[in-house]
Symmetry: C2
Subunit: 150 residues, 2 copies
């Protein structure tokens, strides 16, 4: 199964120009060309793009991804280096998840805050609530974040 740039772009839900940009940046060294010069994406290119996307989501820049692609081109001598890269990316993603979970805690608090304000019809009402009347898990979030008046 081969894909044109337009077909591949549709599958991945990106702009065709994004794929050409990746190619021009050296991220897609294995994409073949038709006799007329058109890109022909294979199943392997699709899978490479999945990995590129994964590395991007993990926080790597295009340049850093290019360096990874260059490692794969060097073959077995870079296996350990690549292993370390992926282990670091895994750590980085776990960190991102932890950060987002903290962010969510504050959002939980804010949702409770505005739900309560909404029921009472005034923000002042929530601000005046005595701490012991705030639900346990909400109070906890508030304290963790050291919020007093927000």
């Amino acid at each position: 199964m081969v894909y044109t740039v337009g077909e591949m772009a549709k599958v991945l839900d990106v702009n065709t120009s994004t794929l050409r940009y990746y190619d021009s940046e050296g991220l897609l060294p294995y994409v073949e060309r038709s006799s007329g010069g058109m890109r022909m994406f294979s199943e392997k290119d699709y899978e490479a793009l999945m990995v590129i996307n994964c590395l991007k989501k993990s926080g790597l820049t295009i340049k850093e991804i290019k360096q990874f692609i260059e490692m794969t081109e060097k073959g077995d001598e870079t296996i350990e280096e690549r292993l370390k890269l992926f282990e670091n990316r895994r750590k980085a993603v776990q960190k991102q998840i932890d950060e987002l979970q903290k962010t969510k805690k504050l959002l939980d608090y804010k949702c409770w805050y505005y739900q309560t304000a909404n029921k009472a019809g005034s923000e002042q009402y929530v601000k005046n609530i005595s701490p012991e009347k705030i639900p346990e898990e909400i109070r906890e979030a508030k304290n963790t974040l050291k919020l007093k008046s927000v």
Copy 2:
């Protein structure tokens, strides 16, 4: 307790210019000034910056955060709107977390892949492993992602 722009920047671990930029974009309407024109950040401004940071991490742009600040300035009539905003942000953050967990699955697979290649000394070895010899949870990740050759 009041802070100069430099002190506040240190506490939040950001550049002073970032705080001035936020101010110039209308994100900090409550920051007072000394008689000489210097910004004096209060505890409330610190907490507002925590919320700004939270909204930023949830995926809002500076412009969108400004709109939220404008809502708070309008008072009680915008409580419901603000409640909806925070509920949407909470959903968005949960979505981000889910996405990152998928990303992590692929990284788990890649770590296993390169650990195995590293032990064997060759990538070809891992590519040739028959599916039933791949650990259950790793195989699962691989199939979910429809990877064959990566």
